[in-house]
């Protein structure tokens, strides 16, 4: 989704915005999430007339890719906490609302007028403000909650007996479903906005081959 072309400063020192570990995590996460959407929908709408996976197959796939996603996410979390990539998720709170509006205005109006991208990727921040706020809430809010609520189905005895006056497991089930739904909507938007770079497929290429920018 980054929209800035690769650039190298006069010093010749460059920074890889999408290191190999991140690209491997990204595509394994994409595969797992896609499989979880398909198998999750098959479990949720089981018995309906829709063309879905058989319940038994869907159950096994959902468990399998749920575990894979959890393991991959743990690695991603550690790498962001301990490595350099985490800085891209830290928003500058001062003037954030104005910058969010600027980016939204670009997607709503500027993009149709051929206006330049307002926040090109830099070594300090590869995300535009909308990406930053969305990724921060998705990757460090929605995803952990989705994973924890999913894991509780492996260990139902750990789920609270009652939650908000409801059966505990039901509340966990609703949370898991609603989060999965919002993250599915996020994924659709994420894939679409990846086509809104300088070229239609440029951002996909960056996530496959990496992208370097000049060090500031």
């Amino acid at each position: 989704m980054n929209t800035h072309s690769h650039s190298v400063t006069a010093t010749g020192r460059t920074v890889q915005l999408y290191p190999l570990w991140l690209r491997i995590w990204h595509w394994s996460n994409a595969l797992s999430f896609l499989m979880l959407i398909v198998s999750g929908a098959s479990l949720h709408f089981a018995g309906s007339a829709w063309p879905l996976l058989p319940f038994d197959t869907a159950r096994i796939l959902h468990n399998l890719f749920g575990i894979l996603l959890t393991v991959a996410y743990s690695g991603y979390l550690l790498a962001n906490l301990l490595g350099q990539n985490g800085i891209h998720y830290r928003p500058q709170w001062q003037g954030l609302l104005g910058r969010l509006w600027q980016q939204a205005h670009f997607y709503g109006v500027g993009i149709f007028r051929g206006a330049p991208h307002p926040f090109p990727a830099t070594a300090r921040c590869k995300f535009n403000p909308l990406q930053q706020v969305t990724y921060l809430s998705v990757m460090f809010g929605g995803m952990p909650m989705l994973i924890v609520s999913g894991l509780l189905f492996f260990f139902p005895e750990l789920a609270p007996e009652r939650l908000l006056g409801m059966d505990g497991l039901w509340a966990v089930g609703i949370t898991h479903y609603v989060l999965g739904l919002f993250l599915t909507a996020f994924m659709l938007g994420h894939i679409y906005l990846a086509t809104a770079g300088e070229t239609l497929t440029g951002e996909f290429g960056k996530m496959i081959f990496g992208a370097k920018v000049g060090e500031e």
Binding site: A46, S48, P156, W170, G173, Y177, G189, Y192
Partner: protein
Amino acid sequence: MMRLLLFCALLLLAPLRPLSADDQTCLRCHGMQSMAYLDPHTGGLRNLAIDPQTMAASSHGKLRCRSCHGPGFEAYPHFEEAKREALHCLECHKGNDRFPYALFESIEKGFTRSHHARALPDRFFCSSCHDPHAFHGLFQTRVEDVPKQVRQDNHICLNCHHNNERIKDMTGRLLPTLQRSHAWLPNLERHWQAVRCVECHTGSSRPQDHFILDKSLALRDCVACHARDSLLTSKLYLYRAEEERQKAGFVNALVLNNAYVIGMTRNLWLDWASLALLALTLLVLLGHGFARWLVNRKRAASNKEGDA
């Protein structure tokens, strides 16, 4: 001291109805906890003890012993023919206004077709599962706690199926352990806590169905329960839904309806809302993409004109 003990005993027995002289005679022997005899055929002990308090609290608490046990039991020793005679539960229960919708006619129909009745025609009766001296009319009282109901109902089956000696006594052979025969079922213990045996082992969706199937015909279909039109909603959870409607009000109960089965949110409104959200997302994205394509095409055309 003796007076005090007598007083305590009277206090304990006070809520019970006074025993008739006949019943007192029966309980003189059958009231002893150790009342049993050694079955010469199986070599096992057969319990013949009755707990008067349990009996009084049961559905049959107001009946006299002689209401069910015929004249062959008047004298002691009881007549051999009388001992071999089955109880005739349906004589009272069939055509009785207290049990509406021809409940026991339907139960009899199911039972006579059941695997139990066919495999053990002379050995399997109502009393094989429902101890008439302790039995509560399960579905005639309001069910407040589904797990409790599940425990109570499954206990009836497990009385034999979790007791190899009893199975051998009844059938003359041993059956595989329940864990082994249910090995295909994931989260076995969890299922047994939440689902009654009869949900999968009966041949219809009627709540009080007694048409117990041969094990080869038992339901092995996850979707039958893990779906919106769950089998459970027409059986066990039917009663829970009724209660929820009363407690939470009709609209709330609709929103929370059928929400029990693990892994399923099973709420129609939520399903529609979620599909609407995804459809709206797709519509916005496709609309935005289409507008971009139109603008780019127009721009490319005007650039071409400019070049020309």
